[in-house]
Symmetry: C2
Amino acid sequence: MTVLSDLEIARVAHMEPIGEVAARAGIEPEFLEFYGNDVAKISLEAAEAHENRPRAKYVVVTAITPTPLGEGKTTTAVGIAQGLEKIGRHSMLALRQPSMGPTFGIKGGAAGAGYSQVLPMEKLNLHLTGDFHSITAAHNLLAAMIDNHLHQGNELDIEPHSISWRRVVDINDRALRNVIVGLGSRIDGVPRETGFDITAASEVGVILSLATSLKDLRSRLGRIVIGYNRAKQPVTAEDLHAAGSMTVILRDALKPNLLQTTENTPVLVHTGPFGNIATGNSSVVADQIGITSADYLLTEAGFGSDMGAERFFNVKCRVSGLHPDAAVMVVTIRALKTHSGRYKVVPGKPLPEGMTLDNPDDVWAGAPNLRKHIEIVRNFGVTPVVALNLFPGDHDDEIDVVRQIAEECGAHFAASSHVVDGGDGATDLARAVVAACEEPTRFRYTYHLESPLAAKIESVATRVYGADGIDVAPAAAKELAHFEELGYGHFPVVMAKTHLSLSHDPALKGAPTGWRLPVREVRAAVGAGYVYAICGDMRTMPGLGKHPAAERIDIDENGETVGLF
Amino acid sequence: MTVLSDLEIARVAHMEPIGEVAARAGIEPEFLEFYGNDVAKISLEAAEAHENRPRAKYVVVTAITPTPLGEGKTTTAVGIAQGLEKIGRHSMLALRQPSMGPTFGIKGGAAGAGYSQVLPMEKLNLHLTGDFHSITAAHNLLAAMIDNHLHQGNELDIEPHSISWRRVVDINDRALRNVIVGLGSRIDGVPRETGFDITAASEVGVILSLATSLKDLRSRLGRIVIGYNRAKQPVTAEDLHAAGSMTVILRDALKPNLLQTTENTPVLVHTGPFGNIATGNSSVVADQIGITSADYLLTEAGFGSDMGAERFFNVKCRVSGLHPDAAVMVVTIRALKTHSGRYKVVPGKPLPEGMTLDNPDDVWAGAPNLRKHIEIVRNFGVTPVVALNLFPGDHDDEIDVVRQIAEECGAHFAASSHVVDGGDGATDLARAVVAACEEPTRFRYTYHLESPLAAKIESVATRVYGADGIDVAPAAAKELAHFEELGYGHFPVVMAKTHLSLSHDPALKGAPTGWRLPVREVRAAVGAGYVYAICGDMRTMPGLGKHPAAERIDIDENGETVGLF
């Protein structure tokens, strides 16, 4: 049997004109703006126009605690969408847009794998329709207006050291983490220390993912707090008269992008990289459009259920008003084996030798992580479906262990070979999703918005992560009190913690117990509408490795892109 | 009579589907990639496929030395294109893409004016199809790879102080002119001084405007010199293995964008802002596509004939192999009056009072500037057409003075009221262009490439600008010798000087004589393929004013963009 690479599969796949893909999803041509033949933006009027159509079952796709390699959440989501079509149900998929910067780091593509990919993969991994460039531009315009305000006399009396609005680039560029700007002479601005984050960590991007309309986008941008004046009152983007221009820069970026899978099922790709401090979910408007365009809308939440899915439930669902019918929990044998604590997976190196052997005991040893993630989802009142993403070389008795764990927990289960077989390999999983969606749900949040901020952080730590409690650094506690004075007390919370453990310590595998979550620092993303707690050393600007992917990416003699995947 | 604003005219204008505009230009659907209904990118294969078609007459549109307000070169170019259609000739227009950053500064739109505009104006003034974002991304990826190289051990032995490759943003952000990067701890890169330019000043953008194919783009990017190693040998983007990734980032940006005028004539918009050190011309590939798609191809060169047109003739024409049949010299009464030296025009303030009075003597007093520009064009062997861009309130006897000056010089002449009347106001001018193109031309460059660099700089200064000679600073002279050792001696030269005077001193109006051009510094843009000489204090990163346009740009209650124009 000839095994084709992801790139080869993508190249030979038949792409339908995107207008036809849209038509099958019931989206009329007047709502489409084409970007080439294979990508279209969808205007937000589509959601209004289709308001009275039947609503899709709403399924969030999450995962257990992944290895640093990722466990194929995107490809599994694609597989389910394709599998649903195979069993006669129409699907719509809402995925997060990958950040371009990391593509040139170690990552390679983020378009799925094998016969369950999103097309066109090259566009998906690069500019797509330029939404991230717009985020960068709007973010940095505000930064320029802040420094210009200081330079022009600082009428708002901004305390320069309080300015928390940094600049962003969509590139892994560690040298920009900490910079001094405004050097030179008097005409070159006011010197001060600041820095750059990766665009994925921009509050502007989170705002785009949470905004429900152009007007809501405009108001949220206006509410962005960039720092404080000398009277310790917040200074906003509105105060700087920047929010209107930012909105104009972002107006096209607010429209979700329509692509297709290798089997031509529709895929909305819009916003949502993690950036450690963002929500790590695709946009509210994509889901609002998707919910009336299929029988099943699958939406992807980044990393494990403690990460993207928790933010999906507690933050995104509050904004969208949409509640999921089921949650798909993506699992791999290799991830479960890693949670035994017996193996260490390092990106760029082969898997540890013993890990590929037939050893059901390793899988059992990792079970606590899966059980905990099933419990997390169930605590939100949502029906879990365990989706085993099969890899070549997975052993039958190991697969059976995963089934047993899922069944013990009362969760739906199916193994899926979509990477090798496309939708045909995911029909069992699709049926499991359909079955799960028939069960009644009683959706509930982890906390009430009226609780104090610290209590909300503690709820997530104890009720979701399984911590015994939280240890808030004194400065952070003071800042939480300040936030409550300023009226941010009713915000939901987002935890900036590692995705490699249920705890804040990436070395703790399985389902750690007997630990407390340290909260080093807290910040308010007032435009996005949440307070975030930094737990451990969370980076908002990655660096490049010694030999980054950028060194291999090129064009070949025919002008085709190589090295991207 | 109701006078409509530019914005109102643009809003009520009937836009044709861009596919139909392309069809009338003989560009088949298979060469188009749509970006919405009103913009398409054209693949470079179109030029190859149409190689054997009849070639258009090739007309460069330039100007006399402008006031800081600009003299309507874009709108006049649009007017001629529309006027040619009115007299039964097919026109294609190749314009430069405006830089987004300055749109939020003082500038407002750059889409023409009145009934001679380019549509859609909002896209034109903002992201368009994202080409500038791609330039920014590719430029900054190289910068990140340089700093990463230092951080990872500096195998190439790069001398950090020699690194001339800065970063870019498409925003007026003076605080970024001089920065220190790499601060923090050992894992945050190597501290060093550097800075940011505006994207318009990126060598990557110039490379895009000069590249003749994807392969040529790839080679030029590879040849970029970012600095020197400790043995004083150049270090290139190829040495850093960055050029392949940069090419992949830029592959769509290499394709020209097709838009239309308010009268639906086709317009290619591609690359070319001035950035002081760039060529300030639209792309070679746009002209290569345009030359077989009409009877007349009009291409725009920035600022006066000493600036964009000189670079068009001496740099761009050498690369493209295309030689112009005529040069349109855009003139306004207000600019000629300014060259009398009797008035000072300040942007954002009303014109000086006396300037709007009927005073033919003021126009005569400014004549030397027009005469000199006619001579400049004629020295390249190209037939000049003086195009008087009429403003409301221009007086008939003043208009007649311009006609007399042009006729004295033996140049074709027409006044044009396209701003008020569209193509119907530009038929005389269109006929003048047609007549000029019938004359034989004997195109010649200002210098041979084999001359020494200093001699080439001197040729431009004396034979184009009218200087008595050049004064090269000692360090610059040493650097020129170094460039010749390195093999850059055969490059053409580009002069970074003010556009507000034929000299390096913006205060010297008319046609200054008895002056020498100081060359403060020289640099090599090896990827673009020229050496540039900095004459006076030329800035590569603008700042925002006290109340920039960004404060006024917004959406209104209907979600429409306001304040952009």
